[in-house]
């Protein structure tokens, strides 16, 4: 199977590889997939609590080239978006941008799931924070 140039570019030069501090209250972490399925994506966002803008995004992915490219692309798109804008990213956008063939659509679905999981984790943290401060 031939890979699109964009998939190859992300595979050869993955953007924003790495990890953010999980315990930082402004960091949301999403981990989706399973090793026995052949792909696991970890996606993290660091959000400015005052503006709601994603200032940093990092990923690490165990998976095929298309899974790596999907998550690499996701981090690029996430940076500078607000958390609400981030939730508008659809897997089909990733499919179109990377020209993924039908057998690789699940990679884009996984990337969308990872975005939602990371944002969800951040939201959960930020919602619980005021309660903690008022109770304290």
């Amino acid at each position: 199977m031939a890979y699109s140039n964009k998939v190859l570019d992300h595979y050869n030069h993955p953007r924003n590889v790495g990890s953010l501090d999980k315990s930082d209250p402004n960091v949301g972490t999403g981990m989706v997939g399973a090793p026995e399925c052949g792909d696991v994506m970890k996606l993290q966002v660091k959000v400015n609590p005052d503006t709601g803008v994603i200032e940093d995004a990092k990923f690490k992915t165990f998976g095929c080239g298309s899974a790596i490219a999907s998550s690499s692309l996701a981090t690029e798109w996430l940076r500078g978006k607000t958390v609400d804008e981030a939730l508008e990213i659809k897997n089909t956008d990733i499919v179109n941008e990377l020209s993924l063939p039908p057998v690789k659509i699940h990679c884009s679905v996984l990337a969308e799931d990872a975005i939602r999981a990371a944002i969800g984790d951040y939201k959960k943290k930020s919602e619980s924070r005021p309660q903690v401060s008022t109770n304290a």
């Binding site: 990890s19 090793p35 399925c37 690490k60 992915t61 996984l110």
Partner: protein, 404 residues
């Protein structure tokens, strides 16, 4: 050194130029039909076929009359298993095989199950070998055939053929072995090992594609098969169809070369394979060899690079042709059923690479491949959340994954 490097010799091999030379006359000058009994064109073609029959018989310790030509090992396996099932239907209706067989055997057995036969699929041990006690216990008075491969096409392990043959003979059960990967690589002897039927392919041993053979024992016992292709009654009535004379000449020449060069070639390939293995083990942690190294083809190495997905690794070594047990590289999107059968977990199947060394690989190529694989695995582990978790001391088997 020329790129790309071909190291996928279990999938197919290039035709050896000496084999090609032996085939050439039979395309144009000596083009006769070996079944034409009344002119010299036919006689010359027949002579080529009979020469090849002897060359093939010789490499497995058989006699020329016991060789039936086919289109390849898939057809040979179909003919052997379906042919026995049909011919011996009155004697019994039970076949024993193993979970790690080639699809040409497994799917043939599944077809027969639909027709009402009973099939036992023996599991394999973690080393890839069948358990002889389990085999012994599986044999019933209705068992007509044991079909267990000689060497596995993914992990290269050599099944205990001599012991299986002895057991089958003692219990009066026919023994077929798919020896596609073994013939020409390791010494094979049908009499010493009590093999009754044996499948051979040309293109796995530097012969052409589209030609194979089936050894069918003629004495002690005399094996009979019901033909699966009807027609002019060629090949003792077991396989009709005009013989592929150039292909057969190629298979014969490939066998003769392999037999002559095997002692030296197997040593050289084992050295290259072990060099590759040692380099990979020295350069990387968390690397697992799939299947026993003790009973194995000299040219096979199947390794799992934990925390790295196989297709992404293949992408990184795109100037090296190898294959992976990863789901992403299979048509079915399922990880290798052979590796799953070893019980090591699906994650290691996704991370596996099969190296198949061959006659035309060099030490320089092995050096290049080893260095490249180490480099790419390291790079991909930097990207792997699983490797990060492993380094943090997290037990990945205890994590709640969101399987999809």
């Amino acid at each position: 050194m020329k790129l790309p490097i071909y190291m996928d010799n279990h999938a197919t091999t290039p035709v050896d130029p000496r084999v090609l030379q032996a085939m050439m006359p039979y395309f144009t000058a000596t083009f006769g039909n070996s079944a034409s009994r009344n002119h010299s064109f036919g006689w010359e073609a027949e002579e080529a076929v009979e020469k090849a029959r002897k060359q093939i018989a010789s490499i497995i310790g058989a006699t020329a009359k016991e060789i039936v030509f086919t289109s390849g090992a898939t057809e040979s396996n179909n003919l052997a298993i379906k042919g026995v099932a049909e011919m011996y239907a009155e004697k019994g209706n039970h076949i024993i095989t193993a979970a790690t067989e080639h699809k040409a055997v497994l799917d043939t057995c599944k077809r027969l199950e639909k027709d009402g036969l009973r099939v036992t699929y023996l599991p394999v041990q973690q080393n890839g070998l069948v358990d002889l006690d389990q085999l012994r216990n599986a044999i019933t008075d209705k068992t007509i055939l044991i079909t267990i491969m000689y060497a596995n096409n993914e992990i290269g392990v050599l099944q205990p053929i001599a012991e299986i043959g002895k057991m089958a003979r003692e219990r009066g059960v026919l023994f077929h072995t798919d020896a596609t990967q073994a013939v020409g690589k390791v010494p094979v002897d049908v009499n010493k090992n009590n093999i009754d039927i044996l499948s051979i392919s040309a293109h796995k041993m530097y012969g052409p594609k589209g030609v194979g053979a089936l050894y069918v024992r003629r004495r002690n016992p005399r094996v009979q098969l019901t033909a699966q292709i009807d027609g002019g009654g060629h090949e003792r009535g077991m396989r009709s169809g005009t013989l592929n004379v150039p292909g057969i000449a190629g298979l014969g020449a490939a066998c003769e070369l392999a037999q002559k060069e095997m002692p030296e070639e197997s040593k050289r390939l084992a050295y290259l394979r072990d060099t590759l293995k040692d380099r990979l083990l020295a350069g990387l942690d968390e690397v697992y060899i799939n299947g026993t190294m003790e009973h194995r083809l000299p040219n096979n190495l199947n390794i799992s690079f934990a925390y790295v997905e196989g297709e992404s690794l293949l992408m990184g070594i795109n100037d090296v042709a190898v294959s992976s047990g990863s789901a992403c590289t299979s048509a079915t999107l399922e990880p290798s059923y052979v590796l799953k059968a070893l019980g090591a977990g699906d994650d290691l199947a996704h991370s596996s690479i099969r190296f198949g060394l061959g006659r035309f690989n060099t030490e320089e190529e092995v050096d290049y491949v080893a260095a490249k694989v180490v480099d790419v695995v390291k790079k991909l582990r930097e990207l792997s959340p699983l490797y990060e978790m492993h380094q943090e001391g997290i037990d990945l088997t205890k994590v709640q994954w969101t399987a999809h």
